[in-house]
Symmetry: C2
Subunit: 325 residues, 2 copies
DNA sequence: ACTTGCTGTGAAATCCATTCCATATTTTAT
DNA sequence: ATAAAATATGGAATGGATTTCACAGCAAGT
């Protein structure tokens, strides 16, 4: 396979000149440029990018850490990332780590290894302190609210968004409010739990341990929630659910059992998913696509700019009123 | 930043010895190994992987070409890919190309550039002939039925699967069968269209141009389909829809308009999505996760094995009978 | 006529690890 | 005791580009 040296030899110029042509540098005469381009064509030459990466110390690649890709939440964020990456001609390395810390650390090590120019953490099992140690090796952006860390973040305020949802339900006259969550442990999950507990405590609304339902990941988990609700001696009259698809599961199952929404059970979801739009689910929009897009733009700026202080960008959520409250 | 030379100097050994330790090669004395490891620790050294990639000519990275990630179909295939990639300790480079040929070609060029060890094409706008030209530079696997090409593939037989669905509807007594498709142009889309036309022609069932409905991508497109159906003078009594989420949109909208499923309209979907399970949609399961997993295993074998002839792996689909037919 | 600045060109250093080859020492087999 | 094999180690070539530096020629400014 031809290399730059070969091109130089055949074209009768120096290696430097070939490199200049390759990189569109000035100060190459028309004749030599043409000769080089012709030789490149003729020998079917392409640059070995690994050599370029080695000498430049850049790869135009960014790693994305997330646990799974086939969840709506993650896939929309990645969609936002990918759109911007395409525009900026960067590569995204999808590092699906299943929330395994050792795998996530391997990805951060890629930053030390110079394999990548930055890391975008969509969701992680790692502590912020651990992530901070890697800021020495390159820019890192999270899509979680991690406080004033040495790495950047794009986030919505889950505490506030969640409370807003609860206040909305309370204002509509619902006083027995349940709560559905995905993972029990997890940074934004914990924030939402505190918001829930704090709100109920402050407003002196009833709090039952069994009204906090965890591990609701899929549509079918949502359907299962209905049966748990039906078996309760005291049942909530409203429920806040992280994920419209889970809410959809609950609603569809509720229809089968003639439970009226919102008369018997009010529901507010999250993520503003298409299925929620269709079913008329009242939801909290958290700008997932925009979050991905912003995360990319931030890291891109940090890679190509001054590499100044970390950016903390708060996105605004909004409650979309529909028919389930 | 420390490099291997520095480690060798400080540890008082040769560069070769450091490399041996790094790569777990035999023939290094306990003492020297310990000294090297200690120095590595002390100087906080890590390999520059770009140098490794350059000299070895391998990157343990595989590019994945697809148009969007936030569609169920693609995200589940990628989930399958990612699981296997994690096991094999390979990196996936997500190349979301929006079906732009020029971007897809750039990805294939990465194979020439030695940036990646292989390419998995989940869905593409390129012609098979174009893809074949790149097989010279490394292994390529598609998740589409492309015939006996010089690149590998994992696929289900869309023609046969689609006909099977139609036969199933016909056998159940439905004779006016409509058809909902995502993109009008596209390789598996065209195959399904032929299957539809062929079947109707052969069985002499009624064929109306307006019963072929295209650009049904989202749940909401599915809902829109209902309104098109309602406005038809002659309406199909059954419909086959590529994508359960689109079917779900149609079904949910149908409920709102008191159209009974399947009495007024039978529906068969594709992909065996969770939302379909929940709504009891009869569907054709096309093993998306498995398709991704197999695609990865095939390319992994080709990279690390003999690099023999292309593999063409056919996966079996199955009709899952539920309540909408 | 003379400095300054721009254009054009190439030699050589650099990025950093892997690996082939040569050599030295020690162990095992005959 | 001696040949053969295994262990241990390092020198130097290699992979393929970018970039700094030095220098030459030529046009413009004073």
């Amino acid at each position: 396979m031809a290399n730059i040296k070969e091109i130089a030899r055949v074209a009768g110029v120096s290696i430097t000149t070939v490199s200049r042509v390759l990189n569109n540098h000035p100060y190459v005469s028309k004749e030599k440029r043409a000769a080089v381009l012709h030789t490149i064509e003729q020998l079917n030459y392409t640059r070995n990018m690994n050599a370029v990466h080695l000498i430049t110390g850049r790869t135009k690649a960014i790693a994305v850490i997330l646990p799974y890709i086939h969840f709506f939440y993650f896939s929309v964020i990645v969609e936002g990332l990918a759109r911007e990456a395409l525009l900026a001609q960067y590569r995204l390395i999808l590092c699906q780590t299943d929330y395994r810390p050792e795998e996530e650390l391997k990805v951060l090590d890629m930053l030390r290894n110079k394999e990548i120019d930055g890391v975008i953490i969509v969701s992680t099992a790692l502590q912020p302190e651990v992530i901070e140690e890697y800021t020495a090796y390159g820019p890192i952006v999270t899509c979680q609210d991690s406080g004033e860390r040495r790495f950047s973040s794009v986030y919505i305020e889950h505490y506030s968004a969640f409370r807003h949802g609860l206040e909305y339900l309370a204002a509509k006259g619902y006083h027995n409010i349940g709560y559905c969550e995905g993972r029990k442990h997890g940074s934004s999950s914990s924030i939402r739990q505190s918001a829930y507990r704090d709100f109920l405590a402050e407003t002196e609304l009833p709090f039952l341990e069994e009204w906090m339902i965890f591990d609701c990941i899929t549509e079918e988990d949502g359907a299962a929630v209905l049966h748990r609700l039906l078996n309760m001696t005291k049942r909530p009259d409203a429920i806040i659910i992280s994920g419209d698809h889970v809410a959809a599961g609950l609603i569809i199952e509720a229809q089968k059992h003639n439970l009226r929404i919102p008369a018997d059970l009010a529901i507010i979801g999250f993520d503003n998913q298409p299925i929620g739009r269709l079913l008329g689910i009242t939801t909290i929009d958290n700008q997932l696509f925009e979050m991905g897009a912003c995360a990319f733009r931030i890291i891109h700026d940090q890679i190509n700019g001054d590499g100044g202080p970390p950016v903390h960008l708060k996105l605004e959520y909004s409650i979309i009123e529909r028919l389930t409250v």
